[in-house]
Point group: C2
Chain length 421, copies 2
C-alpha cells in the first residue's frame, strides 16, 4: 500500500475510535455485559473457522523456521478457545469500573466532592504472537468503556483477524457503538509508526511483548505509554530465613513457569545462610533441570556451577537458568536488586520483621514479597479478575493492570449555590 | 556556555537528582517536616536579600516592557514572602503521602496484599514567572519524597535563585540528602531541551505556565509529562435552574479572579431560561466591568453585546471578557462544551436531578460542578492542603494535584511460605 493511503486509512481508523469512545463512556454495565456474553458465545460457535485461520499462521511460522516457544504461544486449540470464551464471561461478571465511587468527601462549606471512575478514551495495544491477547484486550477495554485499536504481530495476523471478526460482530449486534474496536489488518511496519503520532485521537498506548518491541514503541510514541517491561526478579534468602520456606519459594519462583516475567532470575543468599541453604536448594534445582550460574562464593559451596558473568546478573532468561550470588548482608542484597533488577517482582525470605521492613521499603519494585513466591505478581492472584498485563512504570498504573487501572477519574462536585470567597 | 559543557553540567545535575531520590524515598516524615519548618524560617530571616534579588528581576522586566500582569505575578513583597513561609509550614503539617496505606486485602490463600504510596523519583518542573512556584515545588516534592529539578522562567531568575539558595541551604542543614533540589541557573533555552531527553534520570516532567510553554514541553519530551493546560470553563444555566443561584455562580466564576484557569470563559443558557435570566445577569456582569460577546439570540435579548466569533468559543480570556450563548437544550450545551472546552472545569446550574446526572456523566472534564462555581477546582478547596497545580491530563493525575498525586504506589505482599500452584 502507498504510504499516503496507509496514513489516511489509519487516521480514519483512529478518528472512529476516538468518536466511539465518547458513546462508550456512557454505555450501561448491562449493555456491556450482554455484549461480552454474546462475544463469548460467538467464538465458541465459530471455533472451527478460528482454528482454520490459526492453522494458516502456524504453518507459515513453521515454514519461516520460527522457534518452537513462539509457535507454542501462537497455536490455538479448542480448549484454548473455550478458555478465551470463559474469560470473556468472567469479565462480564466483574464490577463496572466506570462510574465507581472512588472517594467522597464533604467540605466545611457543604460541597460534596465525589471522585468517580471514568474511561481513559481510545487505547492502542501493540502486541506480539499470542492471539488470546486480541480477545482479552477487546473485553477489558469494552468493560472499562475505552475504545481499542489492536495492532497484533504479523505472525498471528489470520488468527487475530478471525477472532476480531467474530468478537466485534457479536458486540456490535449487542449495541456496542461502531468504532469501539479497530483492527490494523496490515503487516506494514509503518502502520505502528503512523499510529504512534496520533496524539489527538489516541489517549494511551500499551505495548505488550519483548523488550525490543517495548523500547521501539516508547522511543517513537508521541502518545503516553504504559510499558509492560521485562522482569529480572530476585529472591533474597536472609540469614534468619526459614530455610524450608526459602527452598519452596525459590523452587516455585524458578520452575513453576520459567517463561514468564514474574519468574525468579537471580537467587541472592545471605552469607550466614549460604553454607546450609545453597547446597540443598541447588541440588533440588538441578534435579528440576535448572542450569546454575554463580559467583565465586556459590561455586565454592556448590560444585559444578558455571561462573556467572556481569551479563548474567542483568539477564531475563525466561528459561531454566538461574544466577546465584552470596551477599554479605541485607544491604548488599538491596543494592544488587536496585542495580541489576527491573523493578518488577522481588522477594525476601526471612523471619526477621525488621529485615523484611527494610527490604520492602528500600526495594523500589512494583511488587515486593515477604515469604512468598514472586510468581504471585499477577492480576488474577491479586483478585482483579482479569489483567491487561503488568506495568513496570510508576505513573498511572504500576504492577498488575486490571479494569480499574484502565480508567481515569473525574471529580463531580455537588453544591447548592456555593461560590468562592 | 558551549553546548557540550551545558550538556555535561545538566547531565550531572540530573544524575545527582536521581541518586538523591533513592535516599529521599527513605527519609522519615519527622526529618522532612523539620526541614520544611527550617526552610520556612530561613526565608523569613532573609526577606531583605530575597526582595533585593526580586527587585533586579522586576526592574529588568520593566525595562524590557513586559506586560503589567506579568510584572504583578513576578513581584514579591514582605507579605508574599510571609505567605510562602506559612505555606511551607502548612505542608509540614500535612500527612506524609509516602508509606500511606492505600488499600489492604487478604486473599483466600492467606496472602496480605498492601498497596502503599511511594515517591515517583526525580521530577522536573518547568515554569514561568511566579517565584512562589519555586518554594511550593521544593516543599511539595520534598514532602512526597521526590527530588526536584527546577527550571524557572528567565524573567524570574534572580528571585528564584535567591529563594532556592536559602531554602536548599536550610533543608540540607536539616539532613535532607544533597541533590534533593537542583536549580537550572542558566537562561539558555537549550537547557530545557537537554533535560527533556534524560529519560533514565528524570521520571516525570510537569510544565506549568502558558499554552505555548506546555505545548513545547509536551512536543519535545522523551519523559512522561503531566500537563497543566488551559481552562476554557463553562457555566450552563439550565431551564430548571434556580436563577438566583445561577446569577451568583456566573458572577463568581467570572469576576472573583478572572486571571486564573478555573474562571468561567463561556456562559451557556438554556433558551427556556434565557429571556428571564440573560438581561439580568448581563446587567450585573457589565456593572462589574465584563465585556460580553454573544451569539445572535443573546444579542437579541441583551442590547450592546458584541458578536461572538468562532474564536471566542475556544478562547481562554483570563480577563474580564465573557462569551455568551443560548442553547436549545442540555444536549446542545454538552456538545458545545465537548467541542470547545478544555476539559478543565464545567458547571451546570439546575434543580433537575436528571439533567444534573446527564451533565456530570457526559461532560468529560477533570471537575464537573453542579450548582456551584467552577472556581472551586483547586487543591486547597478540595482539602488537599497544597497543590502542584491542576492536571488536564487523564493519566496518573487529573484535576488538582496534591501530595498524593505526586506519588506512585507499590504492592507489598506478606506471606508465610505460600507458593503458586
Amino acid at each position: 500500500m502507498k504510504k499516503k493511503n496507509l496514513v489516511s486509512l489509519i487516521q480514519a481508523m483512529a478518528s472512529r475510535a476516538k468518536s466511539a469512545s465518547e458513546a462508550l463512556s456512557l454505555l450501561s454495565a448491562e449493555k456491556k455485559n450482554d455484549a461480552l456474553n454474546r462475544m463469548a458465545s460467538e467464538i465458541l460457535k465459530h471455533t472451527r473457522e478460528i482454528l482454520k485461520a490459526n492453522t494458516r499462521d502456524v504453518e507459515a511460522a513453521r515454514r519461516a523456521g520460527l522457534p518452537e516457544s513462539l509457535i507454542g504461544r501462537l497455536t490455538l486449540s479448542e480448549s484454548k478457545i473455550r478458555g478465551i470464551s470463559a474469560s470473556l464471561r468472567q469479565i462480564a461478571r466483574l464490577p463496572d469500573p466506570v462510574g465507581r465511587l472512588i472517594s467522597s468527601t464533604k467540605r466545611p462549606n457543604g460541597l460534596v466532592i465525589k471522585k468517580v471512575g471514568v474511561p481513559i478514551g481510545a487505547i492502542l495495544i501493540i502486541y506480539e504472537s499470542r492471539p488470546n491477547v486480541t480477545a482479552d484486550c477487546m473485553a477489558l477495554c469494552l468493560k472499562s468503556g475505552n475504545s481499542v485499536i489492536l495492532k497484533g504481530g504479523s505472525e498471528a495476523l489470520h488468527s487475530n483477524a478471525a477472532l476480531f471478526r467474530f468478537l466485534s460482530r457479536a458486540a456490535y449486534a449487542a449495541g456496542v457503538p461502531r468504532g469501539a474496536f479497530e483492527f490494523v489488518a496490515t503487516t506494514d511496519r509503518k502502520a505502528a509508526d503512523i499510529l504512534l503520532k496520533l496524539k489527538d485521537e489516541i489517549d494511551l498506548v500499551i505495548p505488550r511483548g519483548g523488550e525490543g518491541l517495548i523500547r521501539r514503541v516508547a522511543e517513537r510514541s508521541k502518545i503516553p505509554v504504559i510499558k509492560h517491561f521485562k522482569g529480572v526478579c530476585h529472591v533474597f534468602v536472609d540469614k534468619r530465613a526459614d530455610l524450608r520456606k526459602a527452598e519452596d519459594i525459590a523452587l516455585n519462583a524458578k520452575v513453576q513457569n520459567p517463561g514468564v516475567c514474574n519468574a525468579m532470575e537471580t537467587l541472592l543468599v545471605h552469607e550466614g545462610a549460604a553454607k546450609t541453604f545453597l547446597p540443598r536448594v541447588c541440588a533440588v534445582l538441578k534435579r528440576k533441570g535448572v542450569e546454575l550460574r554463580g559467583d565465586d562464593k556459590t561455586r565454592a559451596l556448590v560444585p559444578g556451577v558455571k561462573k556467572a558473568t556481569e551479563a548474567d546478573w542483568a539477564a531475563e532468561y525466561l528459561d531454566l537458568i538461574l544466577a546465584v550470588r552470596v551477599v554479605k548482608n541485607l544491604d548488599e542484597a538491596v543494592r544488587h536488586i536496585q542495580r541489576y533488577g527491573s523493578r518488577h517482582s522481588d522477594a525476601i525470605v526471612t523471619e526477621d520483621k525488621k529485615a523484611a521492613g527494610y527490604f520492602t521499603d528500600a526495594v523500589d519494585s512494583a511488587c515486593v514479597f515477604v515469604n512468598c513466591s514472586t510468581r504471585f505478581n499477577d492480576g488474577g492472584e491479586f483478585g482483579m479478575g482479569a489483567e491487561m498485563g503488568i506495568s513496570t512504570d510508576k505513573l498511572h498504573a504500576r504492577g498488575p493492570m486490571g479494569l480499574e487501572e484502565l480508567t481515569s477519574y473525574k471529580y463531580v462536585v455537588l453544591g447548592h449555590g456555593q461560590v468562592r470567597t
